[in-house]
Amino acid sequence: MALLEVNDLSISFGGLRAVDDFDITIEKGELYGLIGPNGAGKTTVFNLLTGVYKPNEGIIRLDGEDITRKSTIEINHAGIARTFQNIRLFKNMPVIDNVKVGLSERYKYSALEGILHLGRYRKVEKEMDEEATRLLKVFDLEGEKDTLAANLPYGKQRKLEIARAMATNPKLLLLDEPAAGMNPNETKELMETIALVRKEFDMTILLIEHDMKLVSGICEKLTVLNFGRVLCQGDTKTVLSDPEVIKAYLGE
């Protein structure tokens, strides 16, 4: 069974079909790329998958479970985590607390225990600290764990966002243009981080990307979106040599 199965997904905004009959199947462990020109509807697909928008038609299945029209929170609990095109961190909180927010649905104690610092509080907090530190180490951020997220350099903010997403223990990780705004060095480091996430966590990843070098370097499969519709789908090599794709990208 595929990890993510999407059939006939569609959404319209005031008559415009932003996403039209979108299908995708992602197997466990795959690194899948979603590409397409600006305004093709890539981020809208992410917003549909994570419940920010509710589709007009179509079915989304994660690991066999129907998650169509569920809320963002329920979908996160079901196992999809994401990052954002324009980085969304908890800026006025330390780096480690950003990760601990991601952990907080898995490491629980009651509000009363939280206010009184009694009961499970100490034990669970200790476990959270350890787990958060372990995650930060993977992303090479443990040196900055007490820095405010806002004060991190750009590349590390991107990494922290991925670390926070990983803290929710997802089955599927969605990365929305992770290399946007990065210089070649940072992009290279990011590619290494993504490879590391796959290895370390055995993670299935769907990413939106503009940087062709990054896409062709790491993605195994691609889906090309154009005007909200799937233009081409399949192995990276095959897709990138497809004349239709070249036309959509380079124009006529």
């Binding site: 981020t43 917003n47 920010v52 954002f84």
Partner: protein, 294 residues
Amino acid sequence: MSFLNYLISGLSLGSIYAIIALGYTMVYGIAKMLNFAHGDFIMVGCYIIFCISSRFSNNPLIGIVIAIVFCTILGVTTELVAYRPLRGAASPLAVLITAIGVSYFLENLALIIFGADTKSFTSVVSWEGLSLAGGKLKIQGVTLVTIIVGLLILIALETFIGKTKQGQAMLAVAEDKGAAALMGINVNRTIALTFAIGSSLAAVAGALLCSAYPALSPYTGAMPGIKAFVAAVLGGIGSIRGAVIGGLLLGIVEILSKTYISSQLSEAIVFGILIVVLLVRPTGILGKKIQEKV
């Protein structure tokens, strides 16, 4: 007939709220700040008219003109000294608290100069008004004048914003300060102009308010100021027409609930209406829907 009478006085009170609310809404729309001291500009305007008419001249027009000029200068100066340094501050609360400071300052300055006692204000409208339907429907002069002035101000403002270069500049600054500056618009001057217009309207509103309710004290402007703010929010803050609709609605509701329900609870009813409207339309009657892009 009495219902019609109350409706008209509600319309009149509403016009005053509308004029004050216009100042609030313009400043909010363009400078993105709540000028809590706006209500106190009204009080300042009233004291100016009071001084002029009791010491120098019997012609109310002279008092009004001087009050308008004074309030305009006051508004522009306040913006320059107290608000402009805080533009781009890390929290929008900074300028809000400063505005509260300005409000305290004006109230206490008035307290020192004029004392805490209530002054009786002579109406700037000497016209008796109309008596219709054989004396059953009496409309006071000041009531009619207020409604007409309110209407004229609305038309003038709409024309100014729609037809003049400065008005268009205001719209641009309201939309995006940075982009407006790139287009060669002088943002500081546009904001100063907005304060000038808003404050001059406060002076006009003050003259009308104190003519209809002739009790003047350092705190005269505070409550009408808050209610006008409520009116601006009700109508959709930042919207000119919204401010007028909100103001009129508030004035009518206040007078009618005072008359038919309870004068003690009229304020609660006014605020209750605000809550109900915002629950149905979270950005007010004519407010733009804001949706954050993900």
